[in-house]
Amino acid sequence: MIAFEGVTRSYGEKLAVAGLDLMIPRGELFALLGPNGAGKTTTIKMLVGLLRPSRGTVRVAGHDLVRDPRAAHLHLGYVPDEPCLYEKLTGREFLWYIADMFGMPKAAAEKRIAAEISNFELGEFADDLAESYSLGMRQRLVFASSLLHDPDVLVLDEPMVGLDPRSVRIVKDLLRDRTRGGMTVFMSTHTLAMAEELADRVGIMVRGRLQFLGTVADLRARGSGLVEGAGDGESRSLEQLYLEITSTDGPGSSP
């Protein structure tokens, strides 16, 4: 459903993403981890069409993001780290705007909007102007808007920022539910626990390169062999393993 084929992106002389080859099938929840400046945001920007690769191709549902961005965007839902809303629109008006952009028929859009308002508990403030919303309310509204057209691919950039524990639970349940229904989720996060809890596979990116790709179980298994005599991987926390991979002088430091 998502395909990065030999994708490289540089900023001047700085290589942000180097030769990324990654296929994410339908119904998988993929979590991209990595320290600040690792290339996660660049990868996400290429996946949603904000940035073109210097080399290689990014495809969503078979559509090239550079050659046919409109066709690719019909299959995409995107929740950015900084939600963008029209301050002078109400939450409901914003949802209608997005539904119209995706060409949803009126009756179907009406049903979906009502359902997402209920799913994300937006009812209380759906008819207030967005300028009065808190960060959490904005984030919930953007989540609702990204799911309106039931996209094949949902891209999340640090999705839990600003959400209260109840909203986090709603989002987690929803992600599980949607991936079971066939939606592919690509998520960038710093929260290891969330990746561990939700992701089918994780990728750890360091200085533009994928240093690890596999399941959390694979990561633990790899961890047991990272440092000789360190003991059983299962007994070491995911945080320790992550820090070892992303450490500048650890295993992840070699290309």
Partner: protein
Amino acid sequence: MMPPPAPDALPRPISSGEESGIFLRLRWLIARSTVREMLRTSRLRVSLVILLSALFWGSLFGLFHEAFTFVDSLHAEVISLLFNAFFSSLMVMLVFSTGILLYSGLYTTPEARLLLTLPVRSETIFAHKFQEAFWFSSWGFILLGSPMLTAYGVVRHAPWPFFVLIIPFMVAFVAIPATLGGIVCMALVAWMPRLRLHALSIAVGAALMAMIGLAWMALASPRADAMSAAWFEQAFSRLSITEQRMLPSWWLSSGLIEAAARAKDGTVARHQTEALRFLAVLVSNALMLQLVGRQVAARLHRLGASQLVSEIPTRRQRRMSWFDELLSRAGTDRGRPLRLLIVKDLRIFRRDISQWSQFVIFFGLLGLYFWNVRVFNYQHAYAAMIGFLNLAVVGLILSTFTTRFVFPMISLEGRRFWILGLLPVNRDQIVWSKFIFSFVGGIVPCCLLVALSDTMLGIEPWLIALHEVCCVVLCAGLSGIAVGIGARMPDLREVSPSKIASGFGGTLSLVISSLFIIAVVLVTAVPVHIRFAAQERAVAVAGWTRADRGVALGLAAAIALGLLATFLPLFLGLRAFRRLEP
């Protein structure tokens, strides 16, 4: 959770017309809530804007009516020259203003990023953002141009179709440079993202220089010739370079002149047909350029947006300047927190290009104007009055800066209260630091400008001294009003200084500032005028006359007004700020 959507609920690509319809609805919804909110919360501001716009329009109409009545007595070609010079200058400005507005609308705003992730055509995004930029860059032209053209029609006894055609002519004309600005902007961003700012700055600089050069070339002449018939003739012959038949400004001015014309027998049909032909040329060119603009958008918009995202902001190490160092170390330990607050504001000002560039542009243009007043010869009394008018203009420009940049300063500290609240700084020092920053920052350029204006006008030294005292009074009063009202009515939730300034407190600050300037200028200018009138009637005798006493009293009243405008708002602001709970 939701069941999967029915097949007819799946997303589908929509037509270009549907996309435009969605943007139209979006604009309508935003306009509706904005107007509703303005009527609910900013009635004073709306009324003031309408009233001042009507006043501005009426004054311009009166001014142009007088000017056209005078010019009408000269050769008929003068009007054509004036129109061509005016519209061609506006055309250049519109290219740049729309280009800059579209740069922001198409690439840098959060909305631009949202639109790039939706299944919408680039050409529709261009059309949507172009309409916004078109409106923002043309309303000034319409506000300035409509009274001018109405006055022209009235003076020339133009037939009624002329008045009907004014707006279509203006709209079709504005669309041409505006679209050109958009095309240039997209090409620059896509092909020269790293050079775009430099290229834009160079182009704006070159255009400004060209316009100033044109004005200088047209008006410069020996002092003795100024305002004479020969001077006019010379100036107009130099302006004839703007009469190029390939320029849209020529199509516009020719069309308008035709629309206002009557044949010798009083019939208008032939001239009206000709006017409609010029309108058709303008409309067809505007539409053709729109098509080109949409094609350019389809090819370059996403490429440009990607190029811009690819840019890494240059990292620059900032060190403490010698001036900041000196300011923070000089003086007593007791005053150090106050000085550090001033140094902090000074650094923010220096690093915020939008603040100091506007400061430089406005005061620079004012300086250029004052430098050029020497072209004309004036009598003493007339020169003194122009000196007072220039003083008022300096005050008005300063008041827009104090309202736009100084008034929001206290509100912006709201977000930093967690820092300031934990520091050994009392709240009074925060307010005083803003006042000193504004007062000292304003006094230097303003006093220099007033001195330049008076020197160029050849004003007597005692009057220069009087103007300088008034200038200091204005700087103190305007700073006191902006800081005092800013502390009395802070908006701690808003992060945008422009939104803070455009709220009720900002509007009140601007209105009080304007009234204060008018009061100070009037109480000093009227006695000076009376004194010159007395001198002309040869009433003056040696020694301290009644007229001199009037001037001294006027000055005392101005100082008293200044003290009141400085300390009353500051007192109210300090009292409110001490009690403020962030």
